[in-house]
């Protein structure tokens, strides 16, 4: 931070984002585009992104929702569903897909069509390896106890790493010390880290009253897990980079007899990261975490745009188009000023 309390940083990317569809998309995409230059757009919409045509149509809608002034660029993915033909992989690549996303069946929102037997998708993974398309994984085994699901998936991750040594793999939204460790050990595996997994433990979700706005998959875990995730983010290792997993739901699906999993962090994501890195005297490392390691992993150029970060309080919105964001109404110590406008 310079003497005048300002700092210029490279405009960040969000390497894991849910933007939904329809009216919801029009509300949430501008929240990301106001700060982030690019985002890896998750394909678990209904119907899922599984063809070049659907990918292109989804991209057009995201671009339209962002508005041209933002300069926002969605980075597209497809969903690996049972029965997906390896033949479509090359076509998806030509349409711009950077990654194929694997959801174990039943692991999270819209994963009822996920994969239950990973052997069945080996031909697709081979084709992805051949075409240098990233394998993005929601790494949970939904058949075991909730807090153990991520760790129970790690043998499958190790199997992928071994069987596809030239496939670049990203384990999304790391939530446990065991997963952080697996990413460190496996040469072709990287990991994304969310703001909320840096900040929360299970105590925040249910230690006092029950907090639906802190409910996500994978579930936030023990203080020792959070500590391992924090160390990874602060380490400066290019193995770990930012993906918000911002996942909005309408209020009537969060404040209800039951609540869906997903934290809508996009409106506060970068401000939250600034606070986190600032509190750890590591502001100089936010650029690598948000604008360098992820770009390098996905093989896209680093952004040219800059943000100005000012040491000045900023208040998160109470609501965004009827949605309640993460940290609604909270005051953050840094204000972000787009440098490209």
């Amino acid at each position: 931070m310079k003497k005048n309390g300002e700092m210029a940083v490279r405009r960040p990317d969000d390497m894991h984002l849910h933007v939904r569809q329809g009216e919801l998309m029009k509300v949430v995409v501008p929240q990301t585009a106001a700060v982030f230059k690019r985002a890896i757009i998750m394909p678990n919409i209904l119907p899922p992104v599984t063809s070049a045509e659907r990918l292109e149509r989804y991209r057009e809608r995201v671009v339209a929702a962002a508005g041209s002034a933002s300069g926002f660029e969605p980075l597209m993915t497809f969903k690996i569903i049972p029965g997906l033909s390896p033949d479509v992989v090359q076509e998806l690549k030509q349409a711009g897909a950077l990654a194929g996303k694997l959801y174990p069946e039943g692991a999270t929102t819209n994963s009822e069509d996920g994969v239950s037997d990973v052997q069945t998708i080996y031909p697709v993974l081979e084709e992805m390896q051949r075409n240098d398309i990233v394998l993005s994984i929601h790494g949970e085994d939904p058949d075991v106890f909730s807090l153990d699901r991520e760790e129970a998936f790690l043998p499958t991750l190790r199997q992928f790493s071994r069987d596809f040594p030239d496939l670049r793999i990203v384990l999304e939204h790391l939530s446990s010390a065991a997963a952080v460790q697996a990413v460190a050990e496996l040469p072709n595996v990287w990991g994304t880290i969310t703001l909320h997994h840096l900040e929360l433990t299970l105590d925040d979700l249910l230690g006092g009253e029950l907090q639906p706005h802190y409910f996500c998959k994978p579930i936030v875990k023990r203080p020792s897990d959070r500590a391992a995730i924090q160390r990874a983010a602060l380490s400066g290792s290019p193995k770990y980079f930012f993906g918000s997993d911002s996942a909005p739901h309408p209020v009537d699906r969060k404040h209800a007899p039951t609540a869906r999993a997903g934290i809508f962090s996009a409106p506060v994501a970068y401000q939250g990261l600034l606070r986190f890195f600032g509190e750890h005297d590591a502001l100089e490392r936010i650029e690598g975490f948000t604008a360098v390691y992820g770009a390098d992993f996905y093989g896209v150029p680093k952004n040219g745009d800059e943000l100005v970060v000012r040491r000045q309080d900023w208040t998160a919105p109470d609501e965004v188009g009827g949605l309640v964001p993460y940290h609604a109404g909270e005051v953050f110590p840094y204000t972000v000023i787009p440098g490209w406008k």
Copy 2:
């Protein structure tokens, strides 16, 4: 179960119950009184039960809410708050108090006036020991990680057991294998078990969508913890007996931006226990668990009334006076017919 599909059993007691105050009390007390003969009435109302006068007034209101036809009898308790004079203990006993309840500060609903330094209440515990008043404990240390809070309290429980060898102690709503084991080991410690801790694990609360109606303190835990609690309930050991911890909250405090801890199980409690014991081929053990061991512990006569249990489907209510009960709308395999009407 006899040939005709009916079984007569001693009318049960609920040895841990929250009946609240005001209009809420009028809704919830009859739900318990329809099946249970007696209940240990928790004293954590506002202001708490800390004097003979408050105890008598609260009992009168509970009796009025139950209605005379039920024959329901509340068993009264007081709350051990910081600064409570040992002098009031004898007066409380004369007013009919069977137990004093200890809440660590901040452990659950209305525990902001709980005890933070247990040494300060030693004079009260001594007076309780002298007067043969039971010490009832919400056994959680709220300063540690949520899933470890019960186990972290056990050293304090052992200290009480050692320092007050003639004090009869009940550790309420056992939620962990470690607590079940502590009750087994300590000669002057008993444990209550709820229906929901027999049935649920953390997966039920948050493994799929988030379920506020499965949210309680102590939090439901691992399958191995539930298994230990189930074994204790089925064991036929008089150390373990039933206390529902039924804890109603208005719907707008459960389906809200945040949800309060407490499961309103009273309307389905006995039917749920019948299903549980029936599924474990142990129906003959429900009487000890619900109508013998608790009465013996509290030194009250066993109930004379009988229930008739019929093997016939019974559907739990969807709502009770605007409250959503545990297992709302579910079908249970046994119907309970009051034998005393």
